[in-house]
């Protein structure tokens, strides 16, 4: 009895400026023996993942002409390019943006004061902070105001306030 193996691999990536792109590949194949399924499934998965990952690196046109850092080597990056402007355009990761906004909301923080803090520390406003800088700002906000609810997160490694990890080693 022939067995049809149908495999689909799809990945969606977030891009700057509320953009995203996705790509997927589906293949169908016929197997002669049910015992081949685990091995072939594993092989097909790797094949599809490799193919999709390779194609996804070509992001094509982006709003504001920004290219994501993950697909450019530093030598190709243009640090001199101006940061994106716009009411809702942030340079840091979506998760960092979400956490900063949540901290502001939970602790009723003054957005102007947070922006001023970012300017003191990094010489730029909150929306222009890159991922490294946003991480530093978040750490400082958490140390000043603490996290509660979903805004709480593990403090720095080595911090005396850090709770013992319950999972695996880092």
């Amino acid at each position: 009895m022939a067995i049809v193996l149908e495999a689909n691999y799809c990945k969606k990536l977030g891009l700057p400026g509320y953009s995203s792109h996705q790509y997927g590949v589906t293949i169908r194949a016929e197997l002669g023996d049910i015992n081949q399924v685990p091995e072939e499934s594993e092989r097909v998965y790797r094949l599809l993942q490799t193919s999709v990952d390779r194609e996804l690196q070509q992001t094509g046109w982006l709003p504001q002409g920004r290219q994501p850092g993950s697909t450019t080597t530093p030598s190709q990056a243009d640090p001199s390019s101006p940061p994106p402007t716009g009411e809702d355009t942030w340079t840091c990761s979506p998760k960092q943006r979400e956490l900063i906004l949540r901290l502001v909301e939970e602790h009723a923080l003054d957005k102007q004061a947070i922006n001023e803090l970012a300017r003191q520390r990094f010489g730029k406003g909150v929306r222009s902070l890159n991922k490294l800088e946003a991480s530093g700002l978040i750490d400082e906000l958490l140390e000043r105001h603490g996290g509660k609810g979903q805004a709480a997160r593990s403090p720095r490694r080595g911090s005396t306030r850090r709770t013992a990890p319950t999972g695996r080693a880092p």
Binding site: V4, R54, S70, P79, K131, E140
Partner: protein, 286 residues
Amino acid sequence: MIRPADPDHRPPADVVAFPLRSSDGALAHVSPSSIRDYLQCSLRFYFKRVLGLPEPGSVSLHLGKAVHAGIQAYWIARWRGGDASTEAVLASYQTAFAAHEQEASVSFAEEERETTLAKGESLLRAYCESEHAQTEAKPIGVEVKLQDDFPELPSPLLGYVDLVLSAADGPVVCDFKTVAATPNVELEAFLHEGQLCAYQLLIEEATGQPVSARELVFLVKTKTPKVIVHRLPPADEAARERFWSMAQAMVDGVYHERWHPQPGMHCGWCPYRGPCARWRGGNDVA
């Protein structure tokens, strides 16, 4: 061997249940230390990161963590305009030293605790007076956790970077090492190349800027403490490819659950020699 399917021929298929692997979760992320652990001894990786067997703390690790906390306090104070005096740094160190005692079981010999505590204090005094600490460069990241997805790996790469300093031609990555004796810096650079390369990749990803240099800062626990800074150029393309190959070898080995003893000098301080001696193959630990 796969043959093209016949679209008109759809036989009923049995549902195949895949058993959970004992290593599920061990690849939630990949870090320089997990790569080092696996490549140094895959069986040790299994005991530590898959089975989660406890690893007794050592005095030198305890001291190293507390000294790192003191250095972290110094640079945060420098960054935020706080108290970066030696006294404030030593206070942070002492607090961390006591806090780690609560967290980990460290067996000090008689008077060893006081000796160790004093050793750390003299190390930090030496660091606070060193050229490295007195640099005009501004920190842009202190003990920062960075995690990002890279197309070379199926799991995100994770790293905790001790210090990132700003420089005109790009960020400088600094990693602090507490060592017992004056190090052979060339050998140390070779041993830590993968870790520094990983940090460089993460910082470049997080900032969009090329890293201009990497520094290993050794705090040497000799009678008169020394601070030795070994500055390295950024990893080139060959070094990056080498790092990704090492990371992929680790991911492949963990995914396929390839564990086996790798006897060597490191067995001398391995806490898992008992279970290692009883290991008979695969996931079997007597």
